[in-house]
Amino acid sequence: MPEAGMVSRLRGLGATEAAEIVIRDFTRLVERSNTVSELLEAVDYLKARIEEYPFSALLVNVARRVLGSLAAGSYGSLGEARRLVIESVESTLRSVVAETEAAAEIAARRLSDGDVVLTFGYSRSVIRALEKAAAMGKHVRVIVAESRPLLDGLEAAKTLVEKGFDVTLIVDSAMRFFARDATKALIGADAVMADGSVVSRAGSGLLALVANEARVRLIVVAGSYKLYPETVYGLTVESPALGDEIVPEDLRELGVRGYAPLFEIIPSHLIDALATERGVLAPEAVPLMIREIYGDWPPRLEPIDELVSRASKRLLELAGEEVREK
């Protein structure tokens, strides 16, 4: 089971924010690199974070673009390589913002005046969707589950209160109790898988179940950067989990263990709609979106590991050239 180190450092953040922090750290490392080996260290850093945070489709997609441009090798100096990396990171982050905004806009249209929205965890896409609905003049009430163990739902509740929403906070156990008061359920995603299932915070699956039982529509708001194309070829990832640290000291001494998975997979049949920047679609139509984005179905993908080794090889060649020039 992967360590939850980074995930718990990024406690309380939505999937996109957490990945963005990693990407900014990576960019800083790249900017500071004075030698090719320092640039290689930055690439290793990105690779290590992907392993720690395997569900972050954004991280994987950024890595794919950055490594792709490094591997292609259309640069003659360290400075050019650096610039290439930074440009590709920046353009990816710009498109993330644009996709999130567009997906939120589409989700907002699906909300009606007077809706009561049940949500779980912290998702910027969901918060933006609610803001846009409010801007459209729709009065929307929100019920947020606190989302143990990271309490990111509490963060979402605070943010929404600051933005002027009518928010009710509940414990995670009360989701079914309040599902009958809700008219819609809205969550974000960490990744959208090839089979249309969605990876989100542990607890979102329960929300999906109670919404489904109460006949409350569940909409997942996710820009297409959340697509995880590797899953077309059967990639599966283990959810990182917190362990004994959730157990109070006196109980740990008695041998009580702890287990708190951080993500879970919501099967597509519990999801009514994916709101993406390309429009609303059934989660089962994800292959269609993969074809739109990758130009082909099945998508042609080079494994991240191979991309890393090709990029590293190209950078080492660059180091050799620089040494020779001196």
Binding site: L154, A157, D172, R176, A202, L254, G255
Partner: protein, 332 residues
């Protein structure tokens, strides 16, 4: 007798028991029931007046005080009514006679409730198999009785216990089971779906605060969504409870009031503008429950009415309540 006057007469330790039930220092439907019987016993013992009439009024006042502490758990009024029946339905010549009857009746209830716990533990333990992975929610002495009995019989299994926000009663379950040597892992309430799937949970066992006439089980908030998740995964969902948690009021159509507790249990420091809702219980529909284990035997939930009729109809017809008795095994 008005409330003020009763409160003036109520001994301090009885007030303390009432307060402990209200603030959940005494918690769990079974413990609440025994504590209420104990409180009535103490109130009778400590009564210093001389008039039989006043004693009867005073005891009704104490009964009201106790019943008003928590609205949802039916074990409380059931225990109180069980004890008070001797005053309500019998005629006494003297104060002493009435006092003795109450004390005797309260003792009987406490003894019965302990026997019931042991007996349902024996019955429930038969359902547990070596190799089981069991998920439980909140803290229930009935569930603990089942699990500990099975463990002592040499059955080997693991337990996942939910933390049970907002008050973390799962910690109590974890401590009690760990002390018996049972391997137990705490999980957040939000994780139950993943735990059921990934840890291959074979049975869910929970207690009950109230069982209704149609077989719904009112238990700690979160129980019903665990039952829903278990149903989706074809995992057996078992409720373990003594029969005095079956609600006779629901037979005549009364709804069970779901207690809503203080927001500070969820969020210690209030955030301006943020509303907090904190219902303490929810209702699990009988469709999601495979069986209810009681000290009188196992029933499918929709047969709750049978138990209620058995227990209360006869009792309501005959002024003389039958002394309940835990019956021993007839199959062994």
């Amino acid at each position: 007798m008005d409330r003020e006057r009763v409160l003036g007469l109520v001994p301090e330790d009885v007030k303390r028991i009432a307060d402990d039930i209200k603030t959940m220092r005494i918690r769990g439907a079974g413990r609440i029931a025994r504590a209420a019987a104990q409180a009535l016993m103490r109130a009778a013992e400590e009564y210093r007046g001389e008039s039989l009439e006043e004693f009867l009024e005073y005891m009704e006042g104490v009964a009201n005080l106790l019943v008003s502490t928590r609205p949802t758990a039916v074990s409380l009024p059931n225990a109180v009514n069980y004890v008070m029946t001797v005053l309500r339905e019998e005629k006494y010549q003297s104060l002493e006679e009435a006092r003795r009857a109450v004390i005797e009746r309260a003792r009987e209830f406490i003894e019965y409730s302990k026997q019931a716990l042991r007996r349902l533990g024996e019955i429930g333990a038969r359902l547990i198999r070596t190799g089981d992975t069991i998920l439980t929610h909140c803290n229930s002495s009935a569930v603990e009785s089942v699990l500990v009995t099975a463990w002592k019989q040499g059955k080997r299994f693991k337990v996942y216990a939910t933390e049970t926000r907002p008050r973390y009663q799962g910690y109590i379950t974890a401590r009690d089971l760990a002390r018996e040597g049972i391997p137990v892992t705490l999980v957040p309430d939000s994780a139950v779906l993943t735990v059921i799937e990934k840890m291959h949970v074979t049975k869910v066992i929970v207690g009950a605060d109230t069982v209704t006439a149609n077989g719904a089980v009112i238990n700690k908030i979160g129980t019903s969504q665990i039952a829903l998740a278990a149903k989706r995964h074809g995992v057996t969902f078992i409720v373990a409870t003594e029969t005095y948690k079956f609600s006779p009021y629901t037979v005549v159509g009364q709804l069970v009031e779901i207690e809503e507790r203080s927001p500070t249990e969820v969020l210690e420091k209030p955030i301006p503008g943020l509303r907090v809702r904190n219902p303490a219980f929810d209702a699990t529909p009988p469709d999601y429950i495979d069986m209810i284990v009681t000290e009188r035997g196992i029933i499918p939930p929709k047969s709750a009415a049978l138990l209620l009729w058995e227990m209360f109809r006869r009792h309501l017809v005959d002024a003389e309540a039958k002394k309940p008795q835990v019956e021993e095994d007839t199959i062994a």
